[in-house]
Structure formats: C-alpha cells, structure tokens
C-alpha cells in the first residue's frame, strides 16, 4: 500500500539524545489476537502463496491452527434452555387475560391473587395479561436482564420447536395456540416501549422484602440486597448503588439511602389498562375507559412511589449499620468529651505542677542566694581576718627590725615608732586586701632590716608610681 503522507512534523531530537546507531528499542507489542482471514480476493492469494512455500498442510495443522482463533459466530445452543411444561404448551394467549384484568382492578398485585386461586396454573403462565412472556421464551431466569439478542435467540429456538407446520408435519394437531404465545411474547419483548410496560408489572422479577424473622435467619443483607437489585431495574439512572454489606462505609450507605429516597423511576402501568374498544361506534364509552385507564395509571404510580418509600423506610429501620454508625458517632462524641475532660484535668494538673515547680525554683534560688550571702560573709570575715593578720604582719615587720633603723642603733624612740607606724598605716589605707596579702607575703619572707626596708621601699615606690601616694608623703619607709 502507498505510504501515507503526514503533514505534521516529527519532533526535534531532544538535547542529549543518543543511542548506538541512532536506534533504541524500548517496548514490545501488545499480545496479538488470533483471527481467521477470509480466503478471498487477490491480496489473500498473494498472502497464501507467500505463507505456503510449497508446503501442504495436514489435518493436525488444521486443528492446531484453529485452536485459539477468536469466534465470531454465537453458539446457537447455550444458556437459554428451560424445561417446558405440558400445561404451558396448551395455553392460549388470551386465557388469563380475563382473570388478570379482574384482579388487576382489585389489587396492585393481581398475580398474587391469581396464584392463590389457581396455584398449579400460575406456576406455568403466571403473568400479566395472561402470559409470562419470559417464561414462554424460556427466559424466566433472565427477565428484565435478557438482552435483545438473547430474546431473539430464545424466540428462534421456540419457533424451531413449536411452529404449527412442524406439529402438523409430525402428526400432532395443528394447534397453534402456544405458537401464538411465542409470537406475542416476542412482539412485546422486542419492542422497547412494550417491553418497558411489561417489565413495569413483571411481578416475577420482584423480590419480596423479607420478614424480620426471615432476615434474621437468612442474613439481613442477603435478603435485602436482591430486593433493591430488583427494584433498581426501574431506575432511570443506572447503575444503581448497591445495598452493600457490613463493611460498607458511612458515605456508601448514605449514598444508597439518598439514592433510594430520590428514586427516579420509569415504571408505568399501561400494561394493566382495560381494553379500549377499537371500533368507532361508542366514542363516549371509549373516552370513558381511556379516562379511567389514565386515572388508574396515575393512582398506581402514586401508590408505587409510596410503596417504594415505605420499603426504603423499612430497610433503613432494620439497617444495623445505621445504628452502628450512630453508635460510632456517639462513641466518638463520648470519646471526644472524655478527651476534653482529660485535657482540662491535665491542664489543671500541669498548672499545679508548674506552680510547685516555680515555687521550688524560687525557694532554691532564695536558698542559693542565702548560701551565697553566708558564703560572702565568711569570705569577708576570712578576708578581714586575713587582712588583720597581714596588717599585723606589716606592723610587726617594722617592729621586728627596730623600726627600720640601721643595725646596731639603739631601740627606736617613741617618736620613731609613731612615725614609722603612721606611715605603715597610711600605706595600709592605700592598698586593697590582695595587695596587702602580697605585701605581707613578701615581708614574711624578708629577713633582716635591709630586706624588709627594700620591700617597703619598693611598695612605697609602686604606690607613688600608681599615684596613690604622693612623693614624700611616706618618708620613713623609703
């Protein structure tokens, strides 16, 4: 085939793209589907010629080749086969219509009554207007779920069996009443409008809500789930949310009930209409019946809406999940309240604790301060004592060397003693405790008058240098 022309451009090669020989294999093909090509036309013949390469194929090849080929024709046999009942075969399409119509006036569930009166019969053709169209076609289990092709197939099967010409051919009577039932059933079920009307009143697709006992015995979800699945067939919105189970979330359950309380139903009740005479003779009567039918439809529709509502009410009332959610909510509330109290209590406790702590800290601080104070006093005393001692050292230092008089001199007279001691006192007022201590240390180590004198001289000089003493202020110590 000719190459296709594409006007849109290829992308620019991304920066840094590289591959060996400019080609990168990346993915693999999705799995192929095995199909038969039709052995028709010149292109197939060319294909066959290429594929055969002079070899011939055997029966084994045939079997192998056909193994996985996708089928395109439906199997004609198949799921739809229900046993047929002799009684049903003798039914006439009109048979039950009469009864049905009568009961339909009396009850919204005419078939229920019919079943009471004619139990055996109704197992066979228990339907509106006398006929269960699904049962006739062998689709009882499928009902509203049956697809159009299932109906067609089922119909065909029934025709193949029950065509009057076949009965005649096999020697039985050419009674076509059941055949008419088949035709009627198909006519209704293949017409989308008529089928809806019929499905609307197809009680056989209904699933009765369980009694409390039943629900208990069989399991609540098992009983109620199918009820709503079947009711769901009337919904304009599809898919319909399911009842779910115990594990369903609150949102899902809420969505379910919301959906059912706002149910938008296509259900209608034309199928139970009283026949309108189709002749033109009696126009008034015709109009009258039409009006009656219309009213009946409306009434039934209202009743059905109410019925569904109370059904949902009933389901909701028995739904343990609702209780569970409520409980959970309550439990949640309690828990929250507990938590709050707990928190408050804790807050209080914390406060008390904090207070105690603060007090403790305060006390500690006070004590520490006290201790410190005491400590300070002691040190001061010690310092004082030390200073006293050092001062004594200072005084005695001069006294021990005869008040700094040269060696061999006579003991110092009172004047000298006064002068020297005055000077020592003066120096002592100019120095702090530390200097005092250091000075005392030096003096303690000095032996002999010269050594002591030089220590004093040095200290005096230092003080003069530091500006603490004036030159000449201390004469005896220099």
């Amino acid at each position: 085939m000719a190459a296709v022309q594409v006007q849109l451009p290829l992308p620019v090669l991304p920066e840094g793209w590289s591959a060996e020989k400019d080609f990168k294999a990346i993915g693999t093909l999705s799995p192929a589907t095995q199909r038969n090509i039709e052995p028709v036309g010149p292109h197939f013949l060319a294909h066959a010629r290429r594929k055969r390469h002079r070899r011939t194929f055997s029966e084994d090849d045939r079997i192998q080749a056909q193994e996985n080929v996708k089928k395109v024709e439906d199997d004609d046999a198949g799921e739809i086969s229900e046993p047929e009942d002799q009684m049903m075969l003798q039914r006439d399409a009109k048979d039950w219509k009469v009864f049905y119509k009568i009961f339909a006036k009396l009850s919204p569930r005419p078939n229920l009554i019919l079943r009471l009166f004619f139990p055996t019969v109704l197992l066979l053709t228990n339907h509106s207007q006398g006929q269960d169209h699904y049962a006739v076609l062998g689709l009882s289990r499928h009902r509203y779920r049956a697809t159009e092709s299932q109906i067609k197939t089922a119909h065909r099967k029934k025709v193949l069996r029950h065509h009057p010409d076949k009965r005649a051919a096999t020697g039985s009577s050419e009674d076509d009443s059941f055949f008419k039932c088949i035709q009627k059933a198909t006519e209704v079920l293949l017409d989308p409008i008529k089928r809806r009307q019929f499905d609307s009143v197809d009680e056989n697709a209904d699933v009765e809500p369980p009694s409390k006992k039943e629900a208990q015995k069989k399991g609540w979800f098992k009983c109620w789930g199918p009820v709503f699945e079947s009711e769901g067939r009337f919904s304009k919105d599809q898919p319909v949310p399911r009842l779910g189970g115990n594990e369903s979330t609150k949102e899902d359950v809420e969505r379910f009930y919301n959906f059912w309380y706002n149910f938008d139903s296509w259900r209608s009740f034309e199928y139970q209409d009283e026949d309108v005479p189709d002749d033109n003779e009696n126009r008034d009567q015709k109009r009258h019946i039409e009006k009656k039918n219309n009213n009946a439809r409306k009434k039934k529709k209202t009743e059905d809406t109410a019925r569904l509502r109370s059904l949902v009410d009933e389901c909701l009332a028995g739904d343990e999940r609702i209780k569970k959610f409520k409980q959970q909510e309550r439990a949640g509330k309690n828990k929250r309240r507990g938590e709050k109290e707990e928190a408050e209590k804790k807050l209080k406790e914390d406060k008390i604790k904090a207070q105690a702590e603060a007090e403790r800290l305060k006390k500690e601080a006070e004590e520490a301060a006290k201790a410190e104070k005491a400590e300070g006093k002691k040190a001061k005393e010690a310092a004082k004592n030390a200073a006293k001692k050092n001062k004594r050292v200072l005084k005695s230092s001069v006294k021990d060397v005869n008040y700094l008089l040269p060696e061999g001199e006579a003991a110092a007279g009172p004047k000298r003693v006064d002068e020297v001691l005055n000077d020592v006192d003066l120096v002592m007022t100019k120095i702090d405790n530390e200097e005092l201590a250091s000075l005392a240390g030096k003096l303690g180590g000095a032996k002999g008058v010269d050594a002591v004198a030089s220590v004093w001289a040095e200290e005096t000089k230092r003080l003069v240098g530091a500006g603490k003493l004036k030159d000449g202020e201390v004469r005896t110590l220099i």
Partner: protein
C-alpha cells in the same frame, strides 16, 4: 501466477461462474475478459432469479414463473429452502414455507411433498434434490448466456453456515454438474465486489456489511486491511427482513379493503398470496418513487382492489421493522467492540437494501465521514442485490485455474488463522495546536500479520535532527457537550433519527430534545516501542518511516530522509526481552 502453481490441464476445462444462492433470490455472474464482473439475466430477463421451483402437470417452472405459482399452485411450489440444506427438521424454522409446500421431516433431513410428475401420487423431494434442481437451472441459464458449458462455481453462503451445510450444498451442486470451487461468505463477497472495481483504492478500513434479504438479515463487521478481510463480528435476525415489510403493506391494504368490503383478504390463503405478491411489487416501487399503487384483480369475494400509498406513509407504518435493521447493525458494531465512529464504510447488500429510508437512517446513525454505499446515497453504488454474485464471480476468476487441492490448501486454517495486531502502531508527530505529541497510525489495529506500512513525515521548519518515536496507539471515544448556543451541527448524531415508529404510544419524547453530545475519536498513546534519530535533515525534507511486522510478530522499523543517504534500521525487543541486532540501513 508463479510456475509452481500452474497446473496440468484438467481433463475437462474448468469453466466457473459466481453464484449467489439466496433463500429468496439467486443470482449468477461471470467476469468478462477485463476482469469485470457482470450479472447474467436468465431467459426471462431476470437478474434476480427467485429461488423457487414449481411443478404443473409434470413440468418444472423456475424463478419468477415459479414464484407466481404461489397463488394457484402453492402446494406444488417450493420456496425459501436454502437455509434447510444440511439441517435436520428439528433445527429449522418452517415459517417461510407456510404459504408454499411445507417442509417435512424426511429421514435425517427435510423434504417437500410435491406433485412433480404426471403420476397420481406426489413425490417426496429432499431439500438436497430441490437444491440440485435449482442449481441446475441456474447453471443452464448461465451456460445458455455464455455459450459454453458451466461446470464450476464459487458460491456464497452466510457466515454462520455449518460444515455439514456446506457439504450438503456441495453435494447438491455436484449432482447438478457443478463443482463448487470454494464457498465464500456473503458479506466478504460484497466487500470484494466493491474492491475489485477498477477505480477502487485499497485502503485500511472497517466495513459494515448489512445484508438485508427476504427472510433474514445478516450484518458483519469486516476489517479490511491492505485488501485482506477479517470478520470481526456478525449479527443475524430472522424476524426483520423484507417479508416483514411486505407484511406492513399487506396489513395496511387489508385494513383498507376491510373498511370498504367488510372482509379480510388475509383470511383466505389465495387472497393472501395475491395480496402478498402485489404488496412486494408495491414495496419495490416505493424504493424508486414517492408513491406506488397496488392493484389486485379479484382480491376477495371476486372484488377487484386497487389503491395507492405514498412513501412517507409506508416509512411510518414500517417504523418498527426499520428500527429493527438499525438495531441489528448497532448490535454488530457493539459485538466487534467498536463504535459507530470507527466505521469507515457501510455496504448495503441484499434486496431490501434498496429501501431509501434504511440508507437515510444509517446516514444519521454513522458520522458524516462514514461512506454509506447504497443506491440512494451514492450514485456510483453497485446494485445491492448483485453484490454477492459479483464477488463470487471475481473469486471464481481468481481461482478457476487452480488445482482443487491447491484451493483446499489455500482455505486451510493454517493459512487463514493469523495473528492480528490488537493495537495500532504509529509515529508521534507535533500538532500545530497542541505542543504535545499526536499519534499518527501506520498499521491499524486488526491488521493481520505479516504486514508493512510506510508513512512520509514532514520535519520541523528548518530541518535538523528529528526524533522518530514509534508507539502503540489506542483509539478512544471522547464525549463532550457542545458549546452552548453554537450553531455548528455536531459531527455525529449518536442516535438514529427520530422519524420513529408509527407507534401511537404517547411516550415522552422530551429526552430526544436534549442537546446532542459531541463524540469524536482520539488516539491515546500506548507503549513506546522504539526511538530513532534522523540527523541533519534538510529544510522541507520528508522522513519515510516504515514499520514491518513479520509473521512471527517481530517488528522492524526503518527511517530515512527521502533522497538522503543511509538511514536508521532496528528491530524491537522480543517478548522475553533480549534485544536484536540493530544496524544502519
């Protein structure tokens, strides 16, 4: 043809035609010297030859003459028997034969009891025997026309014919002196009839063949890929066909007659037969004109009846049947996992396909891009009634020189069972609107392997280095609400037009009024298969990318600048990993 397939001259030269053998009508065709298919008219000038046989005083009538015997000689007229061939009585629907010789159980098959000789007692003619007589008449008409004894044929059958049915049919033909070279399926024959025209261009397309006949309707969805055909799905309906449309007119005129004459012509077999034949003629006339008349001499109680009906009224009355056709076609599309948007072509085949309303309904069901091949929508359309026989004639001309064993080998599953791609394979390009890549398919999904497709791609403005990114693509349907108030007509009408049934039910139509959503197909890029670089392309250059999928599903990709030197060539990784050798082309 290659030397190894030329065959020894067969003892008697094979002279083959194409035969379409329908329940209602048959048709014979041959190919002229230039390979053009031509449909042959029988002695009476009919190209649609009713598949009817009728016996009067030992004389056999065939075709239209036999059909007209339904009125006076219905018991000795055999009709609508094709589907009974090779079947047992339990598995057949006798309905169509109700107004002619009834189908009976006969040994393991079906037979008709017919007074076919001058003797007093009727003969029991098996359906195989009837088929033989019918084919013999067809072959003799063809031989007369072609001036040469026809001894072989390609014969069309429905897609759901069983092997037993084929075998029985083959046997019947053989007894009529006709060797069946090959059975081909009716829808495929119809596709071939169109594809074999000189002006046809072979392309990859999805074709819906709607074969709407007399007593059954069959739809097939066919993937046509490079001139090879694979059936993706089929749907059958035995209750929606021409007969049901006849019935619509029968009921309509019967009611009219009752109103005037207080008697129902349908209650009397003969009256009904007359009315039926005339109703069918009226129906056919309504395919051409906007109104048609019906007149029946002595319809009932010796009263003549004539009336007219216009097309609109007929279309209204037949609404339910017409909807049935549309639904059947939708069903087939659905079964193929496709959407109406995927359908490139609809071939209307079979007699009922002449009805203009059906084509009109399909025009609104499918998007505007879908070609509806029918007489009322396409001037160059082939006659829907002639498609199968034309296709069969073309196939006959293709294979009549083959040895029978070669033909058998060609139709062997070892040759026909073939892997088909489940995803399209294509290349990413830059679109002008979006900056992101757009997928351009080269090989469409449902292409049988081996297959090879090439595409020529533009390069960006100034040329330079370009990237060839080969991917799988999956088509998706994008649904969007139309712009409010926008006047432009949505591309597709999702639903069939609302010129619905004549049903008087007052159902709510309001939903129909809702704004139609816009549906379109888009490509979703799937697995990236490979990347390749084409370096230093010239300004305005074209890059040719070829994807070749082998019979073993091995993929080779080549890319080169057209007119440039060299290029890139590589192979995909095998399923289990492990790359193959890459190299420069």
């Amino acid at each position: 043809m290659s030397a190894d397939e030329s065959i020894e001259a067969a003892p008697a030269e094979t002279f083959a035609i194409g035969i379409s053998f329908g329940n209602s009508n048959s048709s014979i065709a041959y190919t002229s010297g230039e390979g053009k298919a031509e449909v042959i008219a029988n002695e009476e000038g009919d190209r649609q030859i009713p598949s009817f046989l009728s016996y009067i005083e030992g004389e056999e009538y065939h075709g239209a003459q036999a059909k007209s015997q339904l009125v006076r000689n219905s018991k000795n007229t055999v009709a609508y028997f094709r589907d009974y061939i090779g079947k047992d009585f339990d598995s057949i629907d006798p309905t169509p034969c109700h107004a002619s010789a009834h189908a009976q159980k006969h040994e393991s098959t079906i037979a008709f009891s017919v007074q076919d000789t001058n003797s007093d007692s009727p003969s029991t003619l098996s359906v195989s025997e009837i088929a033989t007589r019918h084919i013999r008449r067809l072959a003799s008409s063809a031989s007369d026309f072609l001036g040469k004894k026809v001894n072989a044929a390609v014969l069309t059958i429905p897609t759901n014919f069983s092997d037993e049915q084929k075998e029985a049919l083959s046997e019947s033909a053989k007894n009529a002196g006709i060797e069946i070279l090959q059975f081909i399926s009716e829808p495929v024959a119809a596709v071939l009839a169109y594809d074999a025209r000189a002006e046809a261009i072979i392309s990859d397309k999805i074709v819906v063949v709607a074969d709407l006949g007399g007593i059954r309707s069959d739809v097939a969805v066919v993937a046509s890929r490079g001139g090879m055909y694979s059936i993706l799905s089929t749907a059958h309906d035995y209750e929606t066909a021409g007969t049901q449309l006849d019935q619509v007119l029968i009921d309509h005129f019967a009611k009219e007659f009752i109103k005037k004459h207080k008697t129902d012509p349908r209650q009397n077999e003969r009256s009904l037969a007359k009315l039926k034949l005339e109703a069918e003629a009226t129906k056919k006339a309504l395919s051409l004109g906007s109104s048609a008349s019906l007149s029946v001499e002595s319809l009932a109680d010796g009263v003549d009846f004539s009336s007219t009906i216009n097309r609109t009224r007929y279309e209204l009355l037949g609404g339910k049947v017409f909807s049935g056709f549309i639904r059947l076609i939708e069903e087939a599309v659905r079964k193929a996992d496709l959407d109406v948007l995927d359908i490139n072509e609809v071939i209307l085949s079979g007699g009922t396909s002449h009805t203009p309303l059906i084509a009109r309904r399909l025009t609104s069901l499918f998007p505007q891009t879908t070609n509806i091949l029918s007489p009322s929508t396409l001037a160059s359309a082939l006659n829907p009634s002639e498609l199968p026989s034309r296709g069969a004639a073309i196939q006959a001309s293709l294979i009549s020189a083959y040895d029978p064993s070669d033909i058998a080998q060609n139709t062997h599953p070892a040759l026909t069972a073939t892997p088909h791609l489940s995803r399209a394979i294509g290349v990413l390009v830059i679109s002008d609107s979006e900056s992101r890549g757009v997928f351009k398919p080269l090989l469409e999904a449902e292409t049988a392997v081996p297959a090879r497709r090439a595409g020529l791609f533009a390069v960006p403005g100034g040329g330079g280095d370009v990237l060839v990114k080969v991917c799988e693509g999956q088509r998706e349907i994008k649904v969007s609400k139309p712009e409010p108030k926008s006047k432009s007509k949505p591309q597709v009408n999702g639903k069939a037009g609302s010129e619905d049934d004549g049903d008087e039910d007052d159902d709510e139509d309001e939903e129909e009024e809702e704004e139609e959503e816009i549906r379109e197909t888009i490509w979703k890029v799937g697995t990236v298969l490979a990347e390749a670089a084409i370096r230093a392309t010239k300004k305005g250059a074209k890059v040719e990318v070829t994807v070749n999928v082998g019979a073993d599903l091995g993929v080779t990709i080549t890319a080169r600048e057209v007119g440039g030197k060299g290029g890139v060539r590589g192979q995909l990784l095998e399923k289990g990993g492990g790359g193959r050798e890459n190299g420069s082309a």
